[in-house]
Symmetry: C2
Subunit: 342 residues, 2 copies
């Protein structure tokens, strides 16, 4: 009998569920048709139904260790409730963890989705050889997860790990968090699109203007494609993304001096467009990075720490793509000391 856990990625749009065994093998993976917009109770019903179905299917070959759920928002770890989640209206102050534990009679661990993604990359992705790592997830916003000694660093109220709100430009673009010029305003998909619109408005980005006109679904991917085709205004946007990421990574390296920093999320696919200015900025801004940079002939995403304690600072693209959060969620009950309250 193998031990397995269920990971749930409760996004702002869809619900994905996977069964992963303790060796990291994905046994089942489903994207449900559940529309999160249809409301909390319906989502809970369908989630529990789908989980039960998978558990029944695996009953004869494995033992369920528990369920981990990654959600976009701030979690109150002690109570297993969502404290704040703009993308999940109606879930606030609802005892998510206890309700699912009650229904499915197993350990449930609730976690912020960016923290879950960091744990996923630490377990099976870019950071498997280290105990200390930080992940930045460049999506609609910029999420962050800090893993120290193999465990997610939550801080005293579960609000730690928000490098997306490190200040980069003191008088920069207003941020939803109330500040200005946060990393999120310079390196999220939303920021890339905003910078593209600003460039179009100057009248000096004709190709971007054309692309924007042609497609109402104009995305950061389209701007990346233009950059790779040599469009100068599109390239400048990703250079700015890179400088902002480099500034924050340099801050983090100077603060933590840990061996691994992983960049994931949709915008991380534009790695080739932003990585050069990102690495140039890290090198310029961080004396700790310069003292610990991997040897020049090592590949950019060389594993840190393989064979002995880590001595180099590695900045790497994530490896698990959009599955990082799902896999990290499945890992949660395997390493949690939390006992179910059933």
């Amino acid at each position: 009998m193998t031990t397995f856990a269920i990971g749930v990625d409760l996004g702002g749009t869809n619900l994905r569920i996977a069964a992963v065994d303790s060796a990291g093998k994905t046994l089942e993976k489903i994207t449900t048709s559940t529309q999160v917009a249809r409301g909390r109770d319906q989502v809970i019903d369908e989630m529990c139904g789908a989980i039960q179905e998978i558990v029944d299917k695996l009953r004869n070959t494995g033992v369920l260790a528990g369920i981990g759920i990654g959600v976009p928002g701030i979690i109150e770890m002690q109570t297993g409730m969502l404290r704040d989640s703009p993308n999940l209206p109606g879930w606030q102050n609802y005892p998510v963890r206890d309700e699912i534990e009650r229904r499915l009679k197993t350990t449930v661990v609730l976690e912020n989705d960016a923290n879950a993604a960091a744990l996923g990359e630490k377990w099976l992705g870019a950071a498997t050889t280290v105990d200390d790592m930080i992940m930045l997830t460049l999506g609609t916003g910029v999420g962050g997860g800090i893993v120290l000694g193999g465990k997610i660093w939550h801080g005293m109220t579960g609000m730690a790990g928000e490098p997306g709100h490190i200040n980069v430009e003191p008088d920069g673009h207003p941020c939803n968090c109330g500040s200005r010029g946060c990393l999120e305003q310079l390196a999220s998909a939303t920021a890339v699109k905003r910078m593209a619109m600003e460039a179009v408005e100057t009248g000096k980005a004709p190709q971007m203007a054309q692309a924007m006109k042609a497609s109402p679904e104009f995305s950061s991917k389209a701007i990346y494609d233009l950059a790779m085709e040599g469009d100068a205004p599109a390239q400048e946007i990703f250079r700015r993304v890179g400088r902002a990421l480099g500034t924050v990574l340099a801050d983090l390296v100077n603060i933590f001096n840990i061996p691994m920093y992983v960049i994931g999320g949709g915008v991380a696919s534009a790695w080739d467009a932003f990585a050069p200015s990102m690495m140039e900025t890290v090198r310029k801004n961080s004396f700790v990075y310069r003292a610990t940079a991997p040897p020049k002939d090592a590949p950019a995403n060389a594993d840190a720490g393989r064979g002995g304690p880590p001595r180099f600072t590695v900045i790497s693209q994530a490896r698990l793509g959009s599955d990082a959060g799902l896999i990290g969620a499945a890992r949660l009950p395997m390493i949690s000391s939390h006992s179910p309250r059933v």
Copy 2:
């Protein structure tokens, strides 16, 4: 018999030594006449002589737990050597720890002075009620110390804890670290003096110009005095110090979500002049701070964490003054798992 330890504060100018017992009581404290400029070997000789004298004096009443030495510079924890210390030329790659262990036959722990100061404030100063805290030391430069779970966070090569080099102004004043606009360039005593000179050069700071002319020893203290007397250009300098500190504290609160941030070092004496703009900036920039700020009627430096796990973020002036590093150094051998190599 009480247990005591020796703390050594090996500054860039003088050498101070204290014997502190395990309850935190200072049994002996001396400032030696040792001039660090006279060179490594002389300093080591005199340091060992002074320590031996104290140990002999206390031999009948206490047991020596070991010696902790705080030094300005980057320590290689594994070897007990100084990796880099601009203020201690000739000490680089010298086996400080092993040499003193050999001579005095007891455990020696070498530590960065800002880390030692953080540990001192955690043990007996502003942060006694918490396990997680960060200290910023505003002196010639801006040092930092991060204490997590009661222990100094060193990072993989001992270079962690450098919030003095968090970027505040992307195109700011060049920093010795190779970057620009680091906190150190905006909140150290050196930075305060530089900003005063810049203000004098504009011709719009007549009182500062006069003070500068009157005293060749013109210090950040003199600028603070002018600010408290109502001199607008001097006040603006400390508002800028406060905004820079606030920006970095907001970053740290968003990253760590820990209960205590302590500001020490000489410039911290100007608290009244910079704290208002510092706290305004922290509140504006950090949603995590706003969610965890102490109740309005609590004193600004209220202890976090007294009675139950901490839930509030407290930003406080240090309490041990220039003794923080000395007391923290004495604490090192008491909590170290390091065994002497004698």
